[in-house]
Symmetry: C3
Subunit: 159 residues, 3 copies
Amino acid sequence: VAPTDRTLGAMEAKGLQLPALRPPAGSYVPYVETAGPLLYLSGQGADGRHGRLGEDMSIEEGQAAARECMLNLLAQARDALGSLDRVKRVVKIAGFIACTESFNDTPEVLNGASELLEEALGDRGRHARSAIGVQVLPRGFAVEVEAVFEIQPSADSSG
Amino acid sequence: VAPTDRTLGAMEAKGLQLPALRPPAGSYVPYVETAGPLLYLSGQGADGRHGRLGEDMSIEEGQAAARECMLNLLAQARDALGSLDRVKRVVKIAGFIACTESFNDTPEVLNGASELLEEALGDRGRHARSAIGVQVLPRGFAVEVEAVFEIQPSADSSG
Amino acid sequence: VAPTDRTLGAMEAKGLQLPALRPPAGSYVPYVETAGPLLYLSGQGADGRHGRLGEDMSIEEGQAAARECMLNLLAQARDALGSLDRVKRVVKIAGFIACTESFNDTPEVLNGASELLEEALGDRGRHARSAIGVQVLPRGFAVEVEAVFEIQPSADSSG
């Protein structure tokens, strides 16, 4: 039985049509539902991976930087949780990529982080994300990634 | 009875004064409280809406792009939830706008997304937000919007 | 007794090693765990603090702007909660800094916001964060900061 959707009915009565679903532009999913608890991870760069995509860094080098950012995030998550077994699901990552105005391949770069998550965590690594090309990152990093994980509850909740 | 506020008292004893409340710069609210559960939605662009505000795209075209991003997000939310009736509240959106360094009207552009939310969801569509002007977005999109929704609980929590 | 970590074992079997923990680049912590409820605060600028770091604004002026953004966020939080005593923990802030391509000191600028939090809230003010250098912010602000706070539950959950 299909669920009712009065909201959609009211939208359509106003002339608002939902578009077709767009496929993800990379190795991620369009949405993740979570009831928490959550682990918020500060943005991580990758040491020695400095530069700007579209200028002095190739897509492959950017992917390697994104992958290392994600390994740094997993290292912090393990420090926070004691064990990566407590990661229930990666909820969301945001990837910031230092690049020129004409660089259009931020999704490919961020796939370096997304694919590492699936490699390391399997289905638990499937996540929502946004990829954003920015002016500059701390210390001149090429890529910075932040993340929110859903975790198994614990008694201690301080970071 | 006004609640006590020892924190504010301690701040004032250190010389820290709270400033007057600033009004929102657009069609949004300054804060939203949520106890979850949450639906995290990956950033959505709007197909065919490429360009850079302040350069080759007008504010009206940017607003149309932002509106389409939000319709794409609602389409994904419906796919996730089965029915938009399960959207309890839009908690937060972040809008990224590709623009020149001198473009100051990112709030007006993002209003295209914010006003669509109120049109579609009424009071449930009132949300917190940030508007950020960036170098470049995936595929050269003019606008990308991501969102967090508070939802009615369900048995299935995977995206 | 150390917890088991089958996830890490499986990663190592694939040749994936966790790197050493990187120290935070500023006055923040690498992660915060939260079970909610949460208060999402819209991005706040600082009135009169316009400019671009690396061009027409010093690091000290940027820090002052970041500090005022955070005071604006605390003012909104008090309006939302009735009392800042209801702030259980600052979970995460994101700081966006308008700057030139060659400006590498976004962490120092954002410390203006982070240090204000610790000054105002003590241990409750310790937070995860990301610092992002961007093209332009609403109204030409030099800095914009958004935040997520963990709060004490209340009966009323609308913003």
